[in-house]
């Protein structure tokens, strides 16, 4: 990330995979993919695949973690060993612990935790295939899974990555652009309320570019939000 290379990421006004600057990758969403979970979802952005499963609200153990006034939410982000080119050593590491935490902070403002004191909602995000923007794909899947599980929410959370490659501002970075680009930013928001719940950035950009990037991210999140709504409504189609 952020290191200079000779690699050309934009050739003749198009990105390496032939997309326009503000175009998302091919997106696929499914709900109810894990039978044993209260709610679950799968989201695919290009070749990044994330599965999220929600268990609960359920009784929280150990008991000292229980809050009398409100419930808590626990998020686990995990990458499968086979999800990357080489092999990822399995289990939690520094990176996945951080992402687990920011994913939790991105989802938390949306949930009515005060509706179930002393209980917990457990969210498991598994990355089956990684090709850039895994955290935002995971958050999108988790948001769908929470809605599918019947958890009371203020709004769905839509998330997307934006960045700067070869001097151009682009949406939805893939693995290559993530690694060799100049900057990348992950954003999660509640599009219905127009509120940001996550913003992380890496790299160097000007203030002007930053504002443009946030705007671009908000537009992309709205697109993803519409797709999320569509897939949830499709599950409960009458007839």
């Amino acid at each position: 990330m952020g290191h200079k290379s000779d690699k050309k990421l934009i050739v003749e006004g198009k990105r390496t995979d032939g997309r326009k600057f503000d175009q998302l990758r091919d997106v696929e969403m499914k709900v109810d993919v894990v039978n044993r979970a209260t709610g679950s979802a799968m989201v695919r952005f290009g070749s990044t695949v994330a599965v999220a499963a929600v268990h609960g609200p359920r009784e929280l153990f150990p008991k000292f973690m229980q809050e009398q006034a409100a419930g808590i939410i626990r998020v686990r982000y995990n990458m499968a060993p086979f999800s990357v080119d080489d092999r990822k050593s399995p289990g939690p590491d520094r990176r996945s612990q951080e992402i687990s935490k920011v994913a939790r902070l991105a989802l938390e403002p949306s949930i009515f935790l005060e509706d179930f004191p002393k209980a917990t909602i457990d969210v498991f995000i598994e990355i089956l295939q990684a090709d850039g923007s895994t955290r935002v794909t995971g958050i999108n899947a988790a948001s769908l899974a929470l809605a599918d599980a019947g958890v009371p929410m203020r709004d769905l959370v839509a998330s997307c990555s934006v960045g700067k490659i070869d001097g151009q501002l682009v949406a939805d970075l893939n693995g290559l652009e993530d690694n060799y680009g100049e900057a990348d930013m992950a954003i999660a928001m509640q599009p219905g309320k127009n509120k940001l719940t996550l913003m992380q950035m890496d790299g160097a950009i000007s203030r002007d570019e930053f504002e443009k990037l946030v705007k671009l991210a908000a537009e992309s999140c709205k697109k993803i939000y519409d797709m999320q709504k569509k897939v949830l409504k499709e599950k409960y189609k009458r007839e």
């Binding site: 009784e59 002393k118 599980a149 019947g150 203020r154 709004d155 509640q190 309320k193 409504k233 009458r238």
Partner: protein, 251 residues
């Protein structure tokens, strides 16, 4: 809504006909069936002094949905009935629980919820119980009881009671668990659906509002199949007919 109905009519006249038939019998049920599902955060309407009931929240004058569910909006109240989720106990719910542990002065009951319920001796048995009595002779671990939620505190400490006409210990049989929000559909309008299943399979069935259903009888497999079908297709139209057909063939 009108345009949508017309579109639907053009596409599938049979469904429209079916809706009309149902509408004659149960006008409010049919109105409900035609409603679209709403998603968390979806705008439901202005408050206009109405009561915000279950499944909705408001910001200023605007009311939004909390759940993925079916909206119920009238001139007095705004509600959303969720299509999935776990059971959160409320006072006066009639539920089925399984005794989890026997304590000195009562029992802990598993009520298919994030919270355990407590059944005190005074609420559990009518007769006088001496302090030295081992209360497991009334209810023991794994006994199934039909009881009523008598108290729920703000921090969700739940107390249940057997002081109710429907409360009793259930002997034998099996229990199955379904999504609690689908229970009204399993019972049907005025108990019609559950009566159909009971008559066709000759099983004893008790339905708890917490999503636990107790079944006893020789052909309980058929009853379970019917109930699980209702759970799976509860948001669809023409379900009663389908169940009748299904049970009619099997018995």
């Amino acid at each position: 809504m009108d345009e949508e109905t017309r579109e639907r009519e053009a596409r599938e006249p049979s469904i429209e006909k079916e809706i009309k038939e149902v509408m004659k019998e149960y006008p409010d049920l049919a109105k409900e069936a035609l409603k679209e599902v709403v998603l968390p955060g979806e705008f439901l309407g202005d408050k206009k002094g109405r009561k915000i009931g279950h499944g909705a929240y408001f910001e200023g004058e605007k009311v939004f949905s909390k759940y993925l569910g079916i909206p119920r909006i009238d001139e007095f109240e705004i509600n959303v009935m969720p299509l999935s989720g776990v059971y959160i106990p409320e006072t006066d719910d009639r539920i089925i629980g399984v005794i989890n542990s026997v304590e000195v002065s009562g029992w802990f009951v598993d009520i298919n919820s994030p919270y355990q319920a407590f059944l005190p001796v005074s609420e559990g048995v009518e007769e006088f119980v001496d302090q030295r009595t081992d209360i497991s002779r009334f209810f023991d671990i794994n006994d199934i009881i039909n009881c009523k939620v008598s108290r729920v505190t703000k921090s969700k400490t739940v107390q249940v009671s057997m002081n109710d006409y429907s409360a009793k210990k259930l002997y034998g049989g099996v229990i199955i668990k379904v999504t609690p929000t689908k229970i009204p559909r399993i019972i049907g309008k005025g108990g019609s659906m559950i009566q159909t299943i009971k008559q066709a399979t000759k099983c004893d069935i008790v339905v708890g509002q917490n999503g636990v259903i107790w079944i006893r009888g020789d052909i309980k497999a058929k009853a379970i199949e019917a109930i699980l079908t209702i759970e799976k297709e509860s948001h669809m139209l023409g379900l009663t007919e389908k169940i009748q057909k299904m049970l009619g063939e099997g018995v």
